[in-house]
């Protein structure tokens, strides 16, 4: 099993979600995030004093998936969140040792 985490632009969330759902992904977790990478911050000016805002609002998506489907999901997320400009985000994948469905107690891939 794999856990895929993606930090993407908030406005790309609908596209990414649509792509994952058409592939057959049944569940995902979405949370708000703030951060920066190569994307530069923006500057606001109040009475001549400058404030640089360099933690941009982002969205974090987490998906648990089986090993076979993992690379496809990464490709879908990358394709659907790419705008070609700085600040598009990152996607990464890590190994998951175990997953349990709380309601039924099912374990492993059956719990996904």
């Amino acid at each position: 099993m794999k856990l895929i985490t993606a930090i993407i632009r908030p406005e790309q969330l609908d596209d990414v979600r649509g792509g994952l759902e058409s592939y057959g992904v049944q569940g995902l977790t979405v949370s708000g995030a703030h951060g920066y990478g190569r994307q530069r911050g923006h500057t606001e000016v109040y009475r001549g004093a400058e404030y640089t805002v360099d933690l941009h609002p982002k969205v974090r998506i987490e998906v648990l998936t089986s090993d076979e489907r993992a690379w496809d999901l990464v490709d879908i997320i990358v394709a659907s969140s790419n705008t070609g400009t700085a600040g598009d985000g990152k996607v990464w994948m890590v190994e998951v040792y175990e997953a349990v469905r709380v309601r039924t107690g099912e374990r492993g891939v059956a719990a996904i």
Binding site: V45, Y46, R47, G48, E50
Partner: protein
């Protein structure tokens, strides 16, 4: 008594009272989200404490018979507004309006002056200490200075018995450039020196204004109220009021343009905070001058105030004092500009009938205006510093570093302005232990309720 004049002054008084809640929005929007309620509470606190003291002895100390040298009115003469009420038999008049209407109109001037000071100490002053400061400062500084500037009493023989600046020296201050703006600005400078800088001053990006629409709303309410402030100071529904009204329109308009021009050239952007600040700077500057200069000179004054105040607000970063919301840069600087400008551009044909340098009056009026501006500045600064110092040494003026970090709204008022996303955890306890509410609580949580 003239009912039209009375109606106008009563409406003006209500307009000026609205300025203080307007100021609460103006200032509140400029603070960060976790300090907005405290900022607004300092304005509402000023309304409460000054309103009470004004009725008790403030009016008497400002406008009672002079007790010596034009420095103070007799605070005991009209204690509790004795002798000024309309009892249906003998109604004391000031000009063409009942004295009690004048009492109300002047009360709201005292209130807004105190509230203005609070902009210098955003996010870090104990609310109780602020209320104590407001009570002492208004008693020891505002009431006497209002007497100096606004009391034009004469005795039965027509001799001057009013304040030493307005009546004695002949300083022109129509609606309060000295008594209100320089007075508040100097006290603000003293207080921010006593309290010190906010944690992260000049560095922490969270100190930027949290709600610009509040700032624009507040500036709009201030301007609306200011028509009562300036045009109401004619104490009648007449041509002088209309003259002041037009100047109250013209000067801020030019000041907005001046401020925005500085911003565009210096920073590259004309901002909404700049427009709001420019309007206020222009209003401050025209306040003393609105019966003394023609609308053309009012616009020149406004433009000058907009440009100079826009440059002055950056001084705090260079000089290292945290005048958080620029009371010094806008009110002290703007008040001085407006008060001195009268010495240059006062038109003998305007209602105030002063003769400025440009109209062949020489330097005499400018000299008088300078004495007026700097005597009030010095008196207010020294007294405010002393009062603030004593409060700081006794009850403490500043909240703890932990409370400042948590936010003054939560730590001092036990409230928060915004509930974004809802409370994720916690519990709710009505403080009065309402029995009807307890019946509605499921049994397993009942033990948490204090009876």
């Amino acid at each position: 008594m003239n009912t039209g004049d009375t109606a106008w002054v009563l409406v003006s008084a209500a307009l000026v009272l609205l300025m203080t809640p307007g100021l609460a929005f103006f200032y509140g929007g400029m603070t960060r989200a976790k300090g907005v309620l405290n900022m607004m509470m300092m304005s509402f606190g000023a309304i409460a404490v000054v309103g009470v003291l004004w009725v008790l002895f403030g009016y008497s100390a400002s406008f009672g018979n002079d007790v010596g040298g034009g420095l103070l009115g007799n605070p005991l003469q009209k204690l509790g507004l004795a002798g000024v009420l309309d009892t249906g038999k003998t109604m004391p008049l000031i000009g063409t309006i009942p004295e009690i209407a004048f009492v109300g109109f002047q009360a709201v001037f005292a209130i807004i002056t105190v509230a203005l000071i609070s902009g210098a100490i955003a996010d870090r002053a104990k609310f109780g200490a602020w209320m104590v400061f407001a009570a002492i400062w208004v008693s020891l500084v505002y009431f006497p200075v209002a007497h100096w500037v606004f009391d034009f009493s004469k005795d039965a023989n027509g001799r001057n018995t009013g304040g030493w600046l307005g009546q004695g020296l002949g300083v022109i201050d129509f609606a309060g450039g000295t008594a209100v703006h320089i007075n508040a600005g100097a006290a603000a400078l003293a207080l921010c020196l006593i309290l010190g800088k906010r944690k992260g001053f000049g560095k922490d990006p969270s100190h930027r204004p949290h709600n610009m629409p509040f700032v624009m709303l507040g500036a709009g309410l201030l301007w609306f109220g200011w028509f009562g402030f300036n045009a109401g100071s004619a104490l009648g529904a007449n041509g002088i009021a209309a003259f002041a009204w037009i100047n109250t329109l013209a000067a801020p308009c030019a000041a907005i343009l001046g401020w925005l021009l500085v911003e565009k050239l210096r920073d590259g952007h004309a901002t909404s905070l700049g427009a709001a600040s420019g309007a206020v700077a222009g209003l401050v500057a025209i306040t003393p001058a609105c019966s003394a200069v023609t609308p053309f000179w009012a616009m020149v004054l406004g433009l000058l105030a907009g440009v100079v105040c826009a440059m002055a607000v950056g001084l705090k970063f260079r000089l290292g004092f945290d005048d958080s919301l620029d009371v010094v840069g806008v009110h002290l600087v703007g008040g001085i500009i407006g008060t001195l400008f009268i010495g240059l551009a006062a038109d003998p044909n305007a209602p105030a009938a002063g003769q400025g340098l440009f109209y062949g009056g020489g330097l005499e009026l400018l000299g008088k205006q300078s004495i007026g501006a700097f005597s009030v500045l010095l008196y207010s600064f020294v007294l405010a510093y002393a009062i603030g110092w004593v409060i700081n040494k006794t009850m403490g003026f500043r909240i703890s570093a932990a409370h400042e970090a948590a936010g003054i709204d939560i730590s001092v008022h036990a409230e928060s302005a915004y509930d974004i996303g809802g409370r994720i955890s916690g519990s709710f306890h009505p403080l009065d232990g309402n029995p009807a509410w307890q019946h509605a609580v499921p049994a397993h949580t009942e033990s948490k309720v204090d009876a």
